[in-house]
């Protein structure tokens, strides 16, 4: 058989297996029994291994085909529960992300305005000396693309080594309001439900969310059910029409920021008509409202107080605020009042990138609790994440200025003490003073030292803040004009951030290193290195450990534990392995060493993780992963529910065992609607919303280098409504000027293109480095989560050359 025929034969086997699984349904046991795709025939030289996809937070597993040291094929992993062998357009091209022609291959130092190659030894020494000069002003900025061991090493380097908390991650920009919403409601972060809910719900509500483009594999899981004849009602609540809207049974538009009024309106009708689940509420819930001090936990209120507070949100008043017809508010409330239905809510950036993000997250949890749509498979309020390890690394490892690993908090003396014990560092090494959140960190970096700008060095890994931060002219650009500010960037390709860096470190990507991610449903995943990185590129993990060791060599005592050992000491056969020397980095599995240390943090707050070896065998496991009496490890699909969660006491049915009120109750919040910090006015009469597109992932540094994806969506654009275009005399495809109070850019107009914003609204994606919309966005943030609002600010549009 010729090679082409062989490939086609294998491809057909894969397609047949996937079609069988798809037709049987992805969630049931029948699907697991579907035939496996054919194994590659001996002699074709392709070796297959598992890895989670590098892109979004869904956490699909792929099988990666490697031949002669190169990734040559990718297929959906048929054994993965998340995607059952299917992938989206980005996922099936993920292997090509490694092979853009302009991969960074050598460390580069800016000399005389130009980036010049230097040795790794010199580069590591420069980073270490910047930290040694003034440790308190040295900060790390990473992302939800750090692997779990990378994030853990970064956290340990800063919190146990440098003795402060100047570490943040770009997840502050994408999901920190989800965190504070969970914390305010349940006392603990991350969804109680999981993707299995999508297989069981009768109603799916997408709140300001476009999963058809952003989480397509999850979305097709629901659409497939309808294709098989199952009835699933899809309701789309959003500020613009998207691909998701076009699949919806009911698509409801609301004015930006008014989702709070809608949520309160639904709650009001549930209570007013006695349609809430009084028994569930009486047993499992308390009520809260904001307090005068603005704390995340607010103040306790009674049910009667709550009833009185939400009473003003009548359907008619909600219609006035939001533009949603009163009859639709009544219909939504009636749906929630029907206990026989199972309702899943999904949300992502629409709720989180919001100056009231914590409030709207808490309100939707509250509707589910109030109506008893919680704890049964299919009844779940679930937030999705945008990055592959926003949960696993940022939220769980705690790569933020106020967190410690495993749900521990900088503010808790007990938690700090436990961290010091696990890290074996002296008492007091873990500071009680939180660091700066992302926006403050960058403001300080962009402010002269004498004026409060006490961050002198920022080391960026696995992210591209010069494109993704809001209001770039204010937060990033000033630092580049200040002589005492030093920007270090580890990345795989030239980006908007490497271009302005003082030092660039070439990094390994995805299967060029060992790794672990944690997806949106608490699933921790593992993979092994499959190919070498190009040139002199090295993993972010090695870079962190090499800098830590150089600091130790230079005499920084924080790099030793209280017994004098290096913080990242690795042992093999009783002997120290010099993992800071790249030639020895792979002599031990550093991921395993760090993960098994990190998991000691996981049990106290009941986020239990299994030993590393269990993840090698699995396509991910959802925490808490608890060992049973027979020695086997078991994941948890539905938290707080007795039928599934081992921490729920027998007979309790539902138990919110991490409640901050210490009474096993979740909190139903009242949060009033309030206007946004910036709204359209006479000078800037339009709303501007920003976001993502199907083909590109975040700032496009990887997907814009994959020819198939680049061709499919070659550049950014501004979507506008036909009426606005007509009024302004703008033709489809014409380049127009988009302006806000912070900046202006020129973009081609797309009239009723992929998405369709309502009149008075613009949408611009942020993937295109050449057209950086974040020069225009607003850095106003949520008071609790400190997450900025990328979804709404005031803008205007005009023809080029016009006034």
């Amino acid at each position: 058989m010729e090679r082409r025929e062989l490939l086609k034969h294998l491809a057909m086997g894969t397609a047949v297996a996937a079609a069988t699984r798809l037709s049987l349904g992805r969630g049931g046991p029948e699907a697991l029994a579907a035939p496996a795709p054919p194994k590659a025939a001996a002699g074709d030289g392709v070796r297959w291994d598992k890895a989670p996809c590098r892109f979004c937070g869904t956490g699909c597993h792929v099988q990666v085909g490697v031949r002669e040291g190169r990734v040559v094929a990718v297929r959906g992993d048929e054994k993965a529960e998340v995607n059952r062998g299917l992938l989206c357009v980005k996922g099936y091209h993920v292997g090509l992300a490694l092979y853009g022609a302009d991969r960074l291959r050598r460390p580069l130092l800016r000399k005389g305005g130009k980036l010049e190659p230097i040795s790794w030894q010199e580069a590591i020494d420069i980073v270490a000396r910047r930290a040694l000069k003034d440790p308190a002003g040295f900060a790390l900025y990473g992302s939800g693309q750090w692997t779990i061991p990378e994030g853990y090493a970064a956290t340990k380097l800063v919190k146990a080594g440098l003795g402060h908390h100047q570490i943040e991650a770009n997840a502050r920009l994408c999901m920190s309001s989800a965190v504070t919403g969970f914390m305010a409601t349940y006392g603990v972060d991350e969804p109680a439900g999981c993707y299995d809910d999508l297989d069981r719900c009768d109603v799916l509500i997408t709140w300001g969310n476009n999963p058809a483009e952003m989480h397509p594999v999850l979305f097709s899981r629901v659409i497939d059910r309808r294709t098989r004849g199952e009835k699933v009602t899809l309701i789309d609540l959003s500020t613009r029409e998207t691909r998701t809207s076009r699949f919806a049974d009911r698509s409801i538009r609301f004015r930006p920021q008014t989702d709070l009024a809608i949520a309160n309106g639904i709650a009001n009708l549930l209570v007013l008509h006695g349609a809430h689940d009084a028994d569930f509420v009486a047993k499992h819930c308390g009520f809260r409202a904001p307090d005068a001090n603005g704390t995340l936990q607010g103040r306790a209120i009674s049910f009667d107080d709550y009833k009185a507070m939400i009473a003003e949100y009548t359907p008619e008043r909600v219609e006035q605020i939001s533009g949603v017809p009163a009859k639709d508010i009544r219909w939504l409330a009636e749906l929630f009042g029907r206990r026989e239905l199972r309702i899943t809510s999904l949300w992502c950036m629409g709720f989180n990138q919001h100056t009231r993000g914590t409030a709207i997250n808490a309100l939707v949890h509250g509707i589910h609790l109030l109506s008893g749509h919680f704890g049964r498979p299919g009844d779940a309020p679930t937030s999705l994440t945008g990055q592959p390890s926003a949960c696993g690394t940022v939220r769980e490892v705690g790569t933020l200025c106020n967190l410690l690993p495993g749900g521990h908090s900088v503010a808790s003396a007990e938690d700090r003490k436990r961290a010091e014990e696990i890290w074996n560092v002296p008492p007091g090494r873990v500071s009680d003073k939180a660091g700066y959140h992302t926006l403050e960190m960058w403001k300080r970096f962009s402010t002269p030292a004498g004026q409060g700008g006490d961050i002198h060095t920022l080391w960026v890994q696995t992210t591209n803040p010069a494109q993704s931060l809001p209001n770039l002219h204010a937060l990033v650009e000033p630092s580049r004009r200040l002589a005492d500010k030093f920007l270090i960037v580890s990345d795989v390709y030239p980006t908007a951030t490497t271009r302005i860096a003082d030092l660039v470190l070439p990094a390994a990507l995805w299967v060029e290193k060992n790794g672990m991610f944690g997806n949106s449903e608490r699933r921790t995943q593992q993979w092994f290195k499959m190919v070498d990185p190009p040139g002199e590129a090295r993993s972010d993990l090695w870079q962190l450990i090499a800098v830590a060791h150089r600091l130790l060599e230079l005499g920084h005592q924080g790099m030793r534990d209280k017994d004098g050992r290096f913080l990242f000491s690795a042992q093999k056969d009783g002997k120290e392995v010099p993992i800071w020397d790249y030639g020895h980095f792979d002599d031990v599995n550093v991921d395993e060493m760090l993960f098994d240390e990190y998991r000691k943090f996981s049990t106290h707050h009941r986020k239990d993780l299994a030993p590393y070896g269990e993840y090698v065998k699995a396509r991910g496991l959802r925490w808490p992963v608890v060992r049973r009496a027979d020695g086997t490890w078991h994941e948890t699909r539905f938290r707080f529910a007795e039928h599934e969660d081992p921490y729920v006491q027998q007979g309790k049915a539902i138990q919110f065992y991490q409640s901050y009120t210490n009474d096993d109750r979740a909190q139903i919040w009242f949060q009033p609607y309030g206007p946004p910090p910036e709204a359209p006015d006479a000078d800037y009469p339009l709303w501007l919303c920003t976001g993502r597109v199907l083909e590109h992932w975040h700032t496009g540094t990887m997907t814009m280098r994959i020819p198939q994806l680049q061709r499919a969506m070659p550049q950014a654009y501004v979507e506008l409504h036909r009426d606005d275009a007509r009024r302004l005399g703008v033709q489809d495809g014409e380049v127009v000027v988009v302006e806000t109070r912070r900046g202006r850019i020129e973009l081609p107009a797309w009239i009723e293109g992929r998405g369709s914003p309502p009149p008075g609204t613009l949408f611009v994606p942020f993937f295109d480095e050449r057209l950086p919309i974040n020069e225009l966005t607003l850095e106003a943030s949520d008071p609790f989560s400190k997450q900025p609002d990328y979804k709404k600010c005031a803008a205007r549009i005009r023809k080029r050359g016009g006034q």
Binding site: R4, A15, A19, G85, Y92, T227, R711
Partner: protein
């Protein structure tokens, strides 16, 4: 060698339309169809270039009678070797 495995989900409630789209797919020499499983039809796309492959997938997405196109696997060995 842009060879891709896909699963086409066809309309299940309109038989004439389903038959018509099946006939169209069968006539395209670049598409090899496998045995249908319910509404799910496995297929292999064999095109001369990556660009032609993308265009073919897009045309399938837009074809009346095709509800969803799931791409399951792609072999891009030639492309990976070129870069």
């Amino acid at each position: 060698v842009p060879i891709a495995s896909v699963v086409l989900t066809l309309v299940h409630d309109r038989e004439p339309l389903r038959d018509r789209v099946l006939a169209e797919l069968t006539r395209d020499p670049r598409i090899e169809l496998g045995p249908a499983s319910g509404a799910c039809l496995p297929a292999v796309l064999d095109t001369a270039s990556a660009a032609e492959g993308e265009a073919l997938v897009q045309s399938l997405v837009e074809k009346e009678g095709v509800v969803f196109v799931d791409v399951v696997a792609v072999d891009f060995s030639d492309q990976a070797e070129e870069t």
